[in-house]
């Protein structure tokens, strides 16, 4: 029966812009300072204080809009969103309402069910964050931390475009990737620099009208996005299948119980009385300013993926892995530019490099040039693949040039015919009966001899060369 329902989800994502200072004052926007230390008359909303827009925040917001293919409006308007809350010191939040910064964008993502799908970005606007109410700090009292107050945010609103919780999550990860690429935001949900609210409704498959939607809030980790939306979707289907009706309300997700509960109506604000903020003239952006932001936008993941497939002859899957993180993509290209073969470099990066990065917080520990050299040593026959992995681990741990490290570890393959001949003679002398059998035509014993030479050389012999010397010596 569940198959007969279609899920419809739209997302409103709040993203903190990566600025040094707040949206309308000079206070630090850094996370984690002692409570109420990053504050001033402006963000405290003291009598007489006035906001002045942060130019860098506007640059980042415009870059985000361009990165999401939006139309950036040369004239937008800051508006006041009025409501009373103790962590909102002015009694209003400066946001944008009737005339947002940007509209009509889109973001393509890889849907698990539908392949490449496109989410429409209905609007993208700039606003300031509120402070934080801490209800668990003191018994029966609420503590207020205004450090976050005035931190610059953009809100990105999609259309009702997602057909499953999984799709919504995939879009969100794609969005995060784009914003991280362009250094617009840290997108750290745990630190609150990315927050998402979802509009969820269900309808019978084939139905074109949207069902009654609810807004799901309090999803505070990537891990909960899919869970929260699934729980709400299932709740709605259960209500409708039980013959009930849905109320358009706000649902709060509780990650501890993996459940949702309706927000008390008292917690909801009904009328924000938006009006243009008279303290801020309309935001007028010149064509030149917008064009400049476009040039400052890096190549975004989708574009990079396509280019990797074309330029380096990689599979789409490999290109996707390599471009998921901008640093990794840049690293990969640096390895190739330093002379490594594109395909081999891709294998190295996707295995050794990413595995090492996963285990160590200090990032990509082997310099791109060093990895290219290491790959060169394998290709030139100086190191076996196995030996190279050991060298990689050593360089990652203690640094150094791969060739020197390989030599110090005694891993360099011996490609000197003279030295090899000695090992070969020893091996042949010690296995006379096998030599007889070989000469009588049992040529597959050649691999046995190679193995014995490798053993005698303790892995240092170049196996290809050893085979050649063996063949010469065993020749009739």
């Amino acid at each position: 029966m569940a198959g007969a329902w279609e899920t419809v989800i739209g997302l409103e994502t709040h993203v903190q812009l990566r600025t040094v200072s707040k949206m309308f004052c000079g206070c630090s926007a850094a996370f984690g300072a002692p409570p109420n230390t990053n504050v001033c008359p402006v963000c405290l909303g003291l009598p007489g204080a006035l906001p002045v827009p942060n130019e860098h925040a506007l640059q980042l917001a415009v870059r985000a809009a361009l990165g999401l293919g939006c139309t950036v409006h040369p004239r937008s308007v800051f508006a006041r969103k009025n409501y009373f809350y103790p962590d909102l010191p002015k009694g209003y939040q400066i946001s944008q309402f009737e005339q947002p910064l940007a509209t009509a964008g889109s973001l393509s993502y890889l849907s698990p069910d539908r392949g490449i799908a496109t989410a429409t970005i209905q609007r993208l606007h700039v606003e300031e964050d509120a402070g934080k109410s801490l209800h668990d700090r003191f018994p029966k009292q609420t503590a207020i931390d205004l450090n976050r107050c005035g931190v610059p945010l953009i809100e990105i609103v999609t259309g009702p475009d997602f057909r499953s919780p999984h799709e919504a999550r995939t879009y969100l990860l794609t969005l995060k990737q784009v914003l991280e690429y362009a250094a617009i935001s840290d997108c750290d949900m745990e630190k609150g620099s990315l927050r998402v609210d979802a509009n969820v409704s269900v309808r019978r498959v084939g139905e074109t009208m949207l069902g009654t939607k609810t807004e799901v809030k309090n999803i505070n980790s990537f891990a909960y996005v899919e869970k929260a939306l699934t729980v709400e979707r299932d709740r709605q289907i259960a209500v409708l299948e039980g013959g009930g009706t849905l109320a358009p309300q706000t649902m709060l997700y509780d990650s501890k119980t993996n459940g949702v509960r309706p927000q008390r109506s008292k917690e909801e604000s009904h009328d924000y009385r938006y009006f243009p903020d008279p303290d801020l003239p309309p935001l007028v952006l010149t064509e030149q300013f917008i064009a400049e932001q476009q040039t400052l936008l890096p190549e975004l993941p989708a574009k990079k993926r396509e280019r990797f497939v074309e330029k380096y002859a990689l599979s789409v899957t490999d290109a996707a892995v390599l471009t998921a993180d901008r640093n990794v993509a840049d690293y990969y290209e640096a390895v190739v530019h330093a002379g490594a073969d594109a395909k081999t470099a891709a294998n190295w990066v996707m295995t050794e490099v990413l595995a090492d990065a996963k285990d160590h917080a200090d990032g990509l520990r082997v310099a791109a040039g060093a990895l290219a050299n290491l790959i060169g040593l394998v290709r030139g026959g100086t190191l076996s693949h196995q030996a190279a992995k050991r060298v990689f681990a050593e360089v990652a741990e203690r640094g150094g040039e791969p060739r020197n490290v390989a030599e110090a570890l005694g891993l360099v393959q011996v490609a000197d015919t003279g030295v090899l001949s000695g090992w070969v003679s020893d091996v042949l002398g010690a296995h006379t009966s096998e030599v007889m059998r070989y000469k009588q035509g049992e040529t597959k014993l050649l691999q046995f001899f190679v193995g014995q030479v490798m053993k005698a050389s303790r892995g240092k012999a170049d196996p290809k060369l050893a085979q050649r010397v063996l063949e010469e010596k065993l020749a009739p």
Binding site: L46, P47, G91, D271, F275, P278
Partner: protein
Amino acid sequence: MSDPSEALASAKAAADRIVNVKRLNACLTPIKELRKSLAAQASTAHPSGVLYGMPVAVKDNICTLEFTTSCGSKILEGYRSPYDATAAAKLKAAGALIAGKTNCDEFGMGSSTEHSAYGRTLHPFDKTRVPGGSSGGSAALVAAGAVPAALGSETGGSVRQPASLCGVVGIKPTYGRVSRYGLVAFGSSLDQIGVLGRSVHDAARVLSVISGRDPKDSTCEDRDSLRLPNVPESLQGFVIGVPKEYFPQDLDAAVRRACDRAIRLLRELGAAVREVSLPHTAYAVATYYIIAPAEASSNLARYDGARYGPRFNGSEDVRALYRTTRGDGFGPEVRRRVLVGTYVLSSGYYDAYYRKAQQMRALIAQDFRNVFDRGVDLLFTPTTPTPAFKAGEKLNDPVAMYLSDIFTVTANIAGLPAISVPIGRIKGLPIGGQLIGQAFLEDEMLEAAYALERAVPAAEEA
């Protein structure tokens, strides 16, 4: 003046004069604190400043490090700003002395200085009358000769109206000429700091000091400070328009006589005077009383008792805290305007009121541009419909009170500079005439004001 001993003497004399007019309840600063601060300021003031040693009183809604900033309200009783308003900082940088905080209608909402939580200010010439408002304390102190100039603020005429009623000069500069940083907001798109002075010159030199760009105020124009014009020999070449809508049939006969005399003198000074029309004037007060309360309802939302200001009884939870703080902390006129403002911004009413008022605002501003585009340099009108009225007379009739701003609100709505100059007496009470100038052309307006001030027998019955 360039000698610290002269500055100290000036400070002491100002304090003495302010004590002498204590009965007016114009200055809210306790006298001991005032004396001490003035002496300290005089000893550290910058001797090379253009206002060195000049005592300037400051309206109680302009933040200063010296003294409290209570905005005439109980809700900010004892509030001390941790920073100086830009205008106050510029005054101090020019060597002026902040000579106390002056009484005003609560948050600037009123036209009589009766709506103050700290009692009404008396008219300096007749204690049964009001000095006008909301900058009534500043006007009364200047009129009583206690200080040569004082800062006031305007949203709809709060400098010019009390200037007219008290017989002093009052200037409201172009919107964006003076930084609003540190002026406690009432109607942000209308608010400007203005100056009250004994003479055009005293007011103008203070205005010149406080004017100019300020990176802390996004609505302050990126312009140099105002340059003071010379006193002109004549007004040859000036075209002065007299808008007929400001001289209705029922205008007080004595006010009309005073204006007629001033117009005759402007002509005699060489100005060409012609009648003009500003057809949307009739809608100005209604427009003002939608926009100003709307902005006020949002600007005053911050006074919730959570972070500063006194807390009142019965604040057991956050809703109760809001209710008691705002219920007990605001006076009736402020509550009235917050309610009106909240209403006109509500969804379902926004288009009918706020949006329509913004459209009317644009039409009123266009009226002025049309007149100025046709070669008119300045407009002359009465400042107020009557001289000072009796205390209590309009207290229970808000609309009558609102109509006392009928000739002044338009300059705020259109963002234009305007000045009130005393033009005569009516049964001993002063009355002002108003010159409205073009945006950022205060210098032309001041030239005409200088000439009018010199020509008009302001102390004579009209």
